[in-house]
Subunit: 241 residues, 2 copies
């Protein structure tokens, strides 16, 4: 197994001090890089370990922070912060850009080869970076099929891969339809995977948060969604040692 | 590259003599096996080469025949044969079972580890084998999201992976919905990938058939759909040398 170096990185965004988890692959020289955005609860070991796994595969990976170093395990607190955030593309982009700046400033990062992968609120951030016109090689979003401001999706110039649970009550069939219609109308190269029977946040093993209706872990689909993400990166950000 | 042995196999089905393409992996001893069903036009080199690729990966693979050794490049002829076929689950199953018998009779096949993958009419056959209760390890279907007789989907005991082009006019959104509802109601472990912008038969490079409205090759999604099929096989039929 390849040696991975990790570092906690602090940086300002959204009026807070964010605390991200940067994972570097072994070897030297620039590598393709991945921005990894967490669910609305915030950064947890789930995303930190995924960043480490990406670094084992040869990527520089930054699991970024949403809430100034805090994990919002209480649904009310999470919703109180994320609901206005999700309604404000500029704030989402600000949080994403700040993380992207950290990732690009890392000497091991090849700044021309960056992908953005996100889950829930982190996925909405990945999509908003694309709609802002940020130069990304791939966008992956799990259970955030959020639509954007009219016309802005046309700025997305990389493949978009999206995954969602079929039984996710937060991401309704109508919302999925609106999202794919937006991508299609904008001429985006997109794909959508519907994981049968899965609920919201199906990819996320339980951490220390309360049980929330409509949210549930689905280990089998979680493994598949991770493999789908790795396939996307392999296609768009091949590791050439 | 592994050495692959291929053989043309003739067998009776649907009142005809079918002519399939069997591909065997190098080595000795039983291997997991894949039934590979073609589009409605029938068996072509596209499916023969896919069977060969599967054999290179270590599977026994049978690209099976639909039309007694003929390729129906004329849309009218194809529709005249496939329309009644697709309306008759028993005939579809008969064609699939006959191919499965050939595959299972091959000494290199591990008869307990068989998957059925199909495209178009071949996909409908793969699904009908599942609905008949045939013991399969995985079912994969591309642009055939066909529904079955009430209640029979509950006999499907393996993962079902389905792929479809978002702009496929033959496989409408309503049909996709009906298919996933059937799978979900039956408790099947299912997934659906919607390939954005792709038409019907997007995975199939042009052969010698006429241009048909709503049908079109999409090389990028074709590569992705093939990788998705390989991932399904890797998950459900791992090659343990």
């Amino acid at each position: 197994m390849a040696t991975v170096t990790t570092r906690t990185v602090a940086y300002p965004a959204d009026g807070m001090t964010m605390v991200g988890h940067l994972a570097l692959p072994s070897g030297a020289g620039p590598r393709p890089a991945v921005l990894l955005g967490p669910e609305g609860m915030g950064l947890s070991d789930v995303e930190r370990r995924r960043a480490d796994a990406l670094a084992e595969s040869g990527y520089v990976a930054l699991a970024f922070d949403l809430h100034g170093g805090r994990y919002l395990g209480a649904p009310e607190e999470m919703l109180a912060r994320c609901t206005p955030l999700l309604a404000d593309p500029d704030r989402l982009r600000g949080i994403g850009r700040a993380a992207l700046d950290v990732l690009r400033a890392e000497p091991r990062t090849d700044p021309d080869r960056v992908a953005a992968i996100g889950y829930g609120t982190g996925g909405a951030i990945a999509l908003e970076l694309g709609r802002e016109g940020v130069d990304l090689r791939a966008i992956g979003t799990v259970n955030a099929l959020t639509t954007g401001r009219p016309g802005e999706a046309a700025r997305i110039r990389c493949p978009v891969w999206a995954g969602v649970g079929s039984e996710d009550p937060i991401m309704s069939a109508a919302q999925r339809e609106a999202f794919t219609a937006e991508m299609q109308a904008a001429g985006v190269d997109w794909r959508l995977v519907v994981y049968g029977g899965a609920l919201h946040a199906f990819h996320h093993p339980p951490v220390d948060h309360a049980t929330v209706p409509g949210v549930g872990y689905h280990p089998r689909h979680a493994r598949r969604a991770w493999r789908d993400v790795l396939d996307l990166l392999d296609e768009c950000l091949p590791i050439a040692e």
